[in-house]
Every structure is written in C-alpha cells, then in structure tokens.
C-alpha cells in the first residue's frame, strides 16, 4: 500500500505517485471501481502535476477507460477513494461540474453528436462554457443572445482554424473520415478551455499522417498553452516519444510507472503489454 500521508519520493517503477494527489492538477487517492464481480480499477492512486504529459497504457480491459471515467465523474468510485482536481476534492461532484472546472475529455468511441455538423458539435461545448441564459436565448435580438452567439462562433472558428478543420466545418460527422472525427472530438473538448485534458485513445485507428498531426497539435497545446495532458494510447512509439511519464495498468492495478523509456524496458510490462522482448 502506498502511504496515505506523505507521498513517497519517486524511487522505482512500482511505487506510489510522485506527486501528492490532493495537491496535483488531477489526482486520485486509493480509488477502486467494481462492476459486479469485475474490479475494473483496483486501489489506484495517481497524481498528475500541472503541465505534465502522462500516458496510461495497458492491455485491453485493464481499466484505463474506467479510470478516466472515474476521474471525470462518469462513474462514482466505490467508497473510500478520493478524486482531486487542482487541489480540490471533487469526489462527490457530478461530471458536468468537473468539466466546467477545467477537465476536458475525448472519447475512445468518439461519442460525437452524429447528426450535427462540425461547427455545431464544437459550439455545443462552447455553449456550456458560456452558461447561456434562457431569456436572452429566446429573445435573441433583444437580450444579447445574438452577441453571445457571435462571440462564441468567433472563438469556435479560431479553434477550427487552429486544428485545421476549417474546410470541414459544415460537414456532418457521419460523413467524415475517422482522423478528422478524432480531431473534432479534440476540438470539442478544447472549446471548454480545459486545464487538464483526458485523451482516450485519441490516435487509435489513425494513419501515420493523422497521428503525426494529432501529436503536433497536442505538443503545441502542451507547450504553448501549458495544458496538462493525460493520454491513453496503445501506440508505444507515440507514448515514448511524447510523454514525460507513463503509467501501466493491468487488471485494474498499476503495475509500473515512471519515465517511458525505463518503463517499456521493464520485463513485466513487456510480458503483459508489448509482447516483444
């Protein structure tokens, strides 16, 4: 068991978090999540520092997605664990509140609003950020709804421009290639102006070019905007190249953590995850 009080220093691959979860940008302390007989997340503690880029890897069904879901409040953890967002205990807060506090998220299965076009998809989360007011929305011309909308659209188009999505802005999601859809998913969470971004396999199913683009955007966001990135990824090449730290999950528990290069060389990790010697 990792210590409850003072976080132990980062010593080895299998020790506790180097950053105290309760003061981290995003953290959790002894979180467990079970579904009936399955323990999807098993007593996990992590702390992610402001501005870090962390990757989570692990075999299928290891509980990676579940961990993200617990972190952002889609699932309530089993009793006992705590979740922290910029030093604040948010364990009991619903997911939408955490999102508004700056926790962005992309999805393994995209979960875009399929029948809408790209612009609308992004405008939606932008609307969340704005907290629209019913009366001004209804009146539109009189109550300032129009001004707010125009302002939102301006911001959204900046994002579109930034992610090089401009030419697709009026295409419906269903008709777009996967690579673009993944980028729209990213754009959608960026519209919330998050501090911490959770990426669930944002590059799976992409070609090299598309992955390259994605990494390019992420790197820029990380460096220029200081976004904290937590990324689930199966492509180890990407993981080792870009992330500063790496966490390996297996059967819900953390089996290794630390510098990517040293983690991937760990025989245990190789046996369970990479399958190469």
């Amino acid at each position: 068991m990792s210590g409850q009080h003072a976080p132990p220093p980062e010593t080895g691959l299998r020790t506790g978090p180097p950053i105290d979860p309760s003061v981290a940008a995003l953290g959790c302390q002894s979180v467990t999540k079970t579904f009936g007989a399955i323990t999807a997340v098993d007593d996990v503690s992590i702390g992610i520092d402001q501005g870090e880029w962390v990757s989570i890897v692990g075999p299928n069904g290891a509980g990676k997605t579940t961990l993200l879901n617990v972190l952002n409040g889609f699932y309530d953890p089993d009793t006992g664990g705590n979740i922290y967002l910029s030093g604040e205990d948010v364990t009991t807060e619903p997911s939408y509140k955490r999102a508004r506090k700056g926790l962005g998220r992309t999805f393994q299965g995209l979960e875009l609003f399929e029948d809408e076009d790209v612009l609308e998809n992004i405008m939606t989360t932008r609307a969340v950020k704005q907290r629209p007011n019913l009366l001004s929305a209804l009146l539109f011309y009189v109550g300032g709804g129009r001004r707010t909308e125009a302002e939102n659209m301006r911001r959204v188009e900046e994002i579109l421009d930034y992610l090089e999505l401009w030419e697709y802005r009026h295409s419906t999601i269903g008709s777009l290639p996967l690579g673009i859809q993944r980028r729209v998913d990213l754009a959608r969470s960026l519209a919330l102006e998050p501090d911490v971004l959770l990426l669930d396999e944002a590059m799976s199913g992409l070609t090299f070019d598309e992955k390259y683009d994605m990494v390019r955007f992420l790197a820029d966001l990380h460096e220029k905007e200081g976004l904290t990135l937590v990324m689930i990824e199966h492509d180890l090449e990407v993981v080792t190249d870009v992330s500063q730290r790496m966490i390996v999950l297996d059967q819900g528990a953390i089996i290794a953590r630390g510098e990517p290069d040293s983690v991937v060389d760990d025989p245990e990790v190789q046996r369970i995850y990479t399958g190469v010697e």
Binding site: T65, N69, F74, F107, Q108, G109, E111, D200
Partner: protein, 306 residues
Amino acid sequence: MVDVGALFSVLVTGIGVGALYSLIAIGFSLIYKITGVLNFAQGQFALLGAFLVVTLSTSLPLWMFDVQVPVVAALILTVLIGAALGLLLERFVFRYFIGEPVLSVIIVTLAFLSIIDGGVRFFISSQYRAYPDALQPDWSVSLPFDTAVQAPFVLGVVLALLTVAGLMAFFRYTVMGSILRASASDQQAAMVLGVSIERTIVVAWALSIAITSIGGILLAMSSGGAGFTIGDVTILVFAAVVFGGLDSIPGAFIGGLVVGVLRQFGVYLEEFLMPGLDSVLPMVFLLVVIMVMPYGLFGTERIERL
C-alpha cells in the same frame, strides 16, 4: 372491515383479466424486443381479432362476403389471419422502414390504429357485437371463498402461461431466438450472419398479432362480445410492459397480471376511498416502479459505457 373473501375474489378476477392483458402485452413486448417499435395499435389488433371471430362464425358479413364457418374454424382462421397480416405488413409497409428512425415506424403504428378502427367499422360492424353462445362458454372453476373463475379467464391464464413458457424457451434455447434478439441489438451485424431483417420482422409481427388476437378474443368473450373499447386496452398494456421491462416476455406476463389485479383492487377501494381508482391505480404503481427500477422488473438495462 377487511373482508378476506372479497379481497380474494378481487385477486382472482384481477388475475383472470390480467391474464388477458398479459397475452396482449406479450404480443406488444415481442415486437418491441425484436424490432424496437412501440406498437400503439396493439389494442386495435386485439380488437380486430375479437371482431374477426364474430364475422367469421356468425351470419355477420365481412364487407360483401358472407362467410360463416364453425366456431372452432373461426378461431383458428382468425389466428391464422393475424399471422398472415404480419407477413403482409412486412411486405407492404415495414420493409420500407428498415434502417429508418424508429419513431417513423411508431407513427406507422398510429396509422394502423386509424386504419383498423375505421376498417372494422366499415367492413365488419360499427356496432357492438355479442358473441354467439358457442363463444360464450358458461363453465367456471370454483375456488374457496365462494369465488368462481369464468371460462375465458381460465383459458386466459392457461394460454398466457403456455405462451410465456414457449417464448422464453424459444428465446433462450434456440438459434432463431438468439438471432431475433441479436438483430434487435445490431441489425447490420446480424445481417452479415445471414439474417434477413425482413424475415425477423415477419416473425415478430406474425407471432405478435396472432397472440394478440387470442387475447382480444378472450377479452371479448369475457365481456360478452366484441366492442370498440377493446382498443383502449393499449394503455393498460403499456403499464403492464413497463412493470416487467419493455423487452421482457415474462415481465409482460407478470405486468399484465399486476395491472389486472390493481384495476380490480381500484374498483374494490372505491367503496372506501373514491371512485375512478381502477384506471388510476395501475398508473400510479407504474410510476413508482419506474422510479425505483428504471428498466422495470426484468427489462434489459441499457449498457452505459463511454
């Protein structure tokens, strides 16, 4: 003040009518389970069955044709016509809605509601039709507390039990049963396994209409004949299937019984509380159930994963 005998007979009558609701509810959840459609014309299909039997077994003409066959033949014919209707509906209607929004199909069922109601009025009768004596069996089964269960109720309970058992076995133990559920869950993935969606629709509707007609006939038998108020059973069927969970066959069965009992109990309570409870009680109970168990007793919970 609590009269055990009276309560017992409320229970018995309730289960009796409930079994008839159950049959119709089973027909309803069958369609929902396989095709995802809420059939708003469920009561009308029951009504159609109830009227077909009279027109076939008495001198009442079916539009310009005066058919009259023995009662047993009329019963069998009605159920067969119901099944054949499933086939026709697929061929001429549902086939065009494969892959289209479910709500459109629901509107189609609303259109059926109009069509059957008007069609029966025009082609069969716009009047209440009393059942011939052969369709009004007068035997009954005696139970304690001086209560007796009428023939249609006994038949209803037996048939409903048989249907539930048969369908449960079908869905649980046969390839076809699994395939029907599979195509409800993912049409395309089922199609690449060789499933013809058309055929699943035929099976769903044919079975459903046949079972529903039986329910409708029994309902008419128990009330002396076929009338248009049979169509109003749809709302009770809704209540029943929600108790049980929309897509659960045993759920529909139990739901039907519960609704039947609650209705009779509502009538019973009228003496102590206020009238009109028989239509309301099932609904109130439905709301309570749904708040506690959003997918009813046995309904399939939607898998919520991200």
